[in-house]
Symmetry: C2
Subunit: 317 residues, 2 copies
Amino acid sequence: MVTAPLGTDGYVVAVDVGGTSLKGARTATGGEVLETVEVPTGRGADAVDQVLSLCRSLAGPRTVAVGLAVPGLVDSDRGVVRYAANLGWRDLPLRDLVADELGLPVTVEQDVRAAGRAEAALDRDGAGGSLLLVVLGTGVGATVVFDGLPVVGDTSTAGEFGHVVTRPGGLACTCGQRGCLEAYASAASIARRYHAAGGDRSATAAEIATSVDPLALQVWQEAADALGLALAGATVLLDPAAIVLAGGLSRAGSRLVDPVHRSLQQQLAWRDAPPVRLSRLGSRAGQAGAALVAWEAAAALGTGRPAGRTPAPRLRR
Amino acid sequence: MVTAPLGTDGYVVAVDVGGTSLKGARTATGGEVLETVEVPTGRGADAVDQVLSLCRSLAGPRTVAVGLAVPGLVDSDRGVVRYAANLGWRDLPLRDLVADELGLPVTVEQDVRAAGRAEAALDRDGAGGSLLLVVLGTGVGATVVFDGLPVVGDTSTAGEFGHVVTRPGGLACTCGQRGCLEAYASAASIARRYHAAGGDRSATAAEIATSVDPLALQVWQEAADALGLALAGATVLLDPAAIVLAGGLSRAGSRLVDPVHRSLQQQLAWRDAPPVRLSRLGSRAGQAGAALVAWEAAAALGTGRPAGRTPAPRLRR
């Protein structure tokens, strides 16, 4: 649940624009999710129409803002989706399109950063709003959050954690490099490696995670070790208060967290590893983050504070 | 030169407490360094006495604050030096010691973070006050600066970039790990590796940097490649506006910057490398950063803003 900043009343509409489905919600000041809608995502202009239609259907007279979470390369400052492969969007001025249609303030945040904001807001008492969120799905992405705000980067491309090289000269990655984390620890890579090594060709990454087949155990452990190495590098540089694992692979629960934490600690000889835990918001994190950013924008309009620097509101589970 | 925030008058005293020498300065509102003092550093209580004595000698009736930059593990919020091996300090409440003695506001910042603040303030027009500063000296340290503020980390240990593993299973590092960046790219490691491989045993890292001996070229290139790999990992995660190289090895100039930039680009198949440049402030960076933090504290006392969140004042060369 998302709690609005003090002094903000009404509702926000939040939509997580995923490659598979659009997840929309209307959330109230008290943090209650009042209404949710989920539809399969189309592509290109169809997906834009779906976003508009979803926002219209969820918005009401007391809606104060709309928050969108979008995958890919997102320029939040200008509200432009520079590139979203799964949606077929390139240089799409999504904020202005939706704002013109609905006559409301609209925020656009990249989905991983939105999720990171939501997790950090939820975790504020524990980790001071600072953490490293790693999303382990078909690919591997991440966001670094400091004091509640995600690192966007100079070219809006921060968080490409899947392309940290963990095995110099190792497996070829789709990005053109060798030895990327993603070549070992994404759901797609884990399944591919298990199949290529002679494992059951119908097994998914989720099944490999819980299998006791020695081959599955080995592929899973190699994924955990690559993750541990990449996380060790991020830990010595950034000293995060917490590492949060999200995405499809996180459904493996302790079968993921325990070996990753062990591997991380083994690769940090001289300091304790930070706590590693599962995402608390799971598949709702992107939408919760979109709502959070929208609340911030609404609060900023009310108080004149710039949205990006508004203290993040509290999120409760 | 350090320019004070608007509305701050007077002088600050800034001291960079190095393991080799204490570098003190008195700087004016306009940014002018009015007076400098440098003395060889003692150890333990002697070094504390030297800091007090240096501050007393530089302070005057219009001094508004004292800024100290200290190596090691520094808790800036409490003004405590938790551990500084070269100085023989442990859990030293330096801020309160100096404040009690001088009756002035005192700030204590870790030296690499202070340098990063100063470089970022200087670079604000170029890089928006965000950068990765890497100090290549006897060891290898770094700081990540966002919007003018350095990342401190949850346990104040962010920036241990020398212990990013660049060669899994590689050379033993003093920290207990294998393959750390520092085992390849610190001045000490470069010299040790060159000597061990049969190179002239009197050659320093600086001499190896400019040597045309194939063995020297190889050791130097291996250092650049390890650095390139570690920087590539930081780049994909953080997308910094600039990478700034400082410390003793940076005196090699383009002999350092060019191969590091080349290696970084080679290890980033799918994106342009951020610009890599030398520190603009060189050995004055720690002191300039200490002055900057002291000016911020003085401004914050004047305006009631918390020091850590005061926009960093402009720094000119």
